[in-house]
């Protein structure tokens, strides 16, 4: 005897949204102090193939059993062969991930979130503005745009870190510049020996001679620490960017990634399902600190 038909239809065999799949760590690369890139793949090739349908800007939930689960952005472009996470060691889960060795197993579920609507940006200039490890979620987008170069206008990357040693993805940065597909402008807060580039906040790059930053028909992608975010937004608005042409990807404490646990809900938006990608116009309406 069961209840009747007064509730939403109950389907048999519904997929378990909380169940991660086993992943194998293939290799680990050091990026900058406390940040490593973890190359991995699913044990099950079918799961791997399905996962590879992710979009730039989406994220995954990473499980270290016995410690917990955390949301991680996906730095690879779906057009790349390898899947990897780039993770800074900040809490207990990320510390556990940092302790893993190649061939160790952990678990992943996803991809989740809306991702960047890359189709909508076709025909536009793309301006990426990143601070510190804020380059991680934007990397996917940058690589995707380069691999579909003809669909986009000018591509500029403005990237700042505290010191030259803390610039992420240095190999990628060099390769991107060499490819001629984009213009890369770097800056650091404190120059060390051997640094000949710019010194100062990332916003100071916008008006440098020769940068000639496009504003019309341009989407600006902004990602970085909250203080950098606030200043860059101010700079971009002053340059004449429309609020709807500034996009970012937000971070919140999340437990489920699928709109149920309630932790990432701000205003009327669940960051995990309605985001993590929002335009600045939308972010302003959320009505809370980010």
């Amino acid at each position: 005897m069961n209840g009747g038909g007064h509730r939403p239809p109950l389907q048999e065999g519904t997929e378990n949204i909380y169940l991660p799949k086993v992943a194998v760590l293939e290799r680990v690369a050091e990026d900058i102090p406390e940040v490593k890139t973890f190359y991995w793949r699913f044990e099950d090739p079918a799961a791997q193939a399905e996962f590879k349908r992710f979009r730039p800007g989406q994220f995954a939930q990473v499980s270290l059993f016995g410690v917990g689960e955390f949301p991680a952005s996906l730095p690879p472009s779906p057009t790349e062969n390898e899947t990897f996470f780039t993770i800074r060691q900040v809490g207990s889960c990320t510390a556990a991930l940092h302790r893993l060795k190649p061939r160790d197993k952990f678990a992943v579920r996803g991809p989740y979130g809306n991702g960047f609507p890359m189709k909508d940006y076709e025909g536009m200039n793309l301006t990426f503005v990143a601070g510190g490890i804020g380059l991680i979620p934007l990397r996917s987008c940058i690589v995707y745009a380069l691999q579909n170069r003809k669909r986009y206008g000018r591509i500029q990357v403005f990237y700042g870190a505290k010191t030259p040693g803390e610039l992420m993805y240095q190999q990628d940065l060099r390769a991107w510049e060499k490819s001629g597909g984009l213009e890369c402008h770097l800056t650091v807060d404190r120059a060390g020996a051997g640094w000949t580039g710019s010194v100062g906040v990332v916003g100071s790059l916008f008006k440098k001679p020769g940068v000639n930053m496009p504003v019309d028909n341009t989407t600006a992608f902004v990602c970085g620490p909250p203080i950098m975010f606030r200043f860059v937004i101010k700079d971009l608005l002053a340059l004449g960017f429309q609020e709807r042409n500034i996009v970012s990807t937000l971070e919140r404490y999340m437990k489920c990634g699928v709109g149920k646990c309630g932790h990432c809900c701000i205003g009327v938006a669940y960051i995990c399902v309605d985001g993590p990608v929002f335009t600045y116009e939308q972010i302003k309406k959320l009505g809370e600190d980010i």
């Binding site: 069961n2 949204i17 909380y18 169940l19 917990g68 952990f106 971070e251």
Partner: protein
């Protein structure tokens, strides 16, 4: 209306019938002192099941969304990793669930089973659940001074979402109403007999009388929804509300419509870990704290703002087709700072003239 009449002396036989059909039956009991609780009916305690009693503070929500629930077990052996989900598929009945709590379950249905993702743990419990709703008719025991289901439009008699509804007509008789075919199937049992027009008339008269017995009225509910939805509440008012919050989380733990949870892993044996989820509360400071310590919603009044926004904003009411407040009054009963839902509505009402002043100042 598919309705029958049943003798008061036979009402607990419904519990027996459900148990005979193989269901675990959960029913209300009196605890020690004035405590009441839902508990599983056994042969030993069956006669202690109570019909009229104060609605337990601990809502029956836990039979579809337990306080703590295992999601999966994980074994790690020889470098391998096996992940096994764990489901509770007990066929269960809640006997004596009040109308406010029925509305609470309906809200959970919309939340966990609606939108992009369905919660399979909730679903497996829910589809095996049979609800015997009890209409609150006794002002002395069923209705507390904090109840405001009238204002939330969820009671005292639920109109839908139950399998069977019972209502005390007095004079040794109850009326039983079937809400689903599964509920109606019980009417084949000889304890149910056909009612008369006089029974229906008595039902109406009793409900009319009961509706006048509620002491808490939040007549400003709809206006509050408008103010909350349009951001029309001054920060000062939220701060005033926040100042009274002791951050105990009690309001969320007793709420039949709260849905938030956190997830935690625990070791249960050598090479064996289980992942559990447990109720979490937006009242607690760590609710939004991220690894590394950044907490975007640190201030207590921001957290209070959050709770009432989530419950009352028009956007969520439309999305879930119901307000996430069902008028059970539990938050009002447990809150030491007196900022349960009715008080908050009242504080917003009192602050409204100031909002108007601010609007005209420009």
């Amino acid at each position: 209306m598919r309705a029958r009449v049943i003798a008061s002396a036979d009402v607990l036989k419904i519990v027996d019938l459900l148990r005979a059909r193989g269901l675990e039956v959960v029913a209300p009991f009196c605890g020690r002192g004035r405590d009441t609780c839902f508990d599983t009916v056994t042969d030993a305690n069956r006669d202690q099941v109570r019909i009229h009693l104060p609605n337990p503070y601990y809502p029956p929500k836990r039979f579809v969304f337990p306080h703590i629930e295992r999601l999966m077990k994980v074994h790690g052996q020889n470098g391998g990793l096996t992940i096994e989900p764990a489901y509770d598929q007990t066929r269960r009945a809640i006997f004596g669930i009040r109308s406010c709590d029925v509305a609470g379950l309906w809200h959970l249905d919309r939340f966990y089973l609606g939108r992009d993702f369905r919660d399979v743990y909730y679903e497996k419990r829910r589809k095996n659940l049979f609800l015997v709703n009890l209409v609150c008719t006794d002002p002395a025991s069923d209705i507390s001074e904090d109840c405001f289901c009238l204002c939330a439009d969820t009671g005292p008699a639920a109109r839908e979402h139950f399998d069977l509804q019972l209502m005390d007509l007095g004079g040794g008789e109850f009326m039983a109403v079937a809400g689903t075919p599964a509920g109606e199937e019980l009417f084949a049992e000889p304890i149910f007999r056909r009612g008369t027009a006089a029974h229906l008339e008595r039902r109406r008269a009793i409900l009319d009388g009961v509706r006048k017995q509620f002491r808490t009225s939040t007549s400003w509910f709809s206006a509050t929804v408008r103010y909350v939805s349009q951001g029309g509440i001054l920060d000062k008012t939220w701060e005033e509300i926040g100042n009274r919050c002791l951050e105990c989380g009690g309001c969320t733990y007793v709420c039949p419509a709260c849905t938030c949870f956190t997830v935690s892993d625990r070791e249960v044996g050598p090479e064996e870990v289980e992942r559990v989820r447990m109720w979490d509360s937006c009242a607690l400071g760590g609710f939004t704290r991220m690894a590394g310590g950044h907490n975007p919603r640190r201030a207590v009044h921001d957290r209070r703002n959050r709770r009432f926004f989530r419950k009352l904003a028009q956007y969520f009411i439309q999305r879930e087709l119901a307000m996430a407040c069902v008028g059970c009054g539990r938050c009002a009963a447990v809150c030491h700072g007196d900022i349960g839902m009715p008080s908050v509505v009242e504080m917003i009402r009192r602050a409204a003239p100031e909002t108007a002043k601010n609007e005209t100042a420009t």
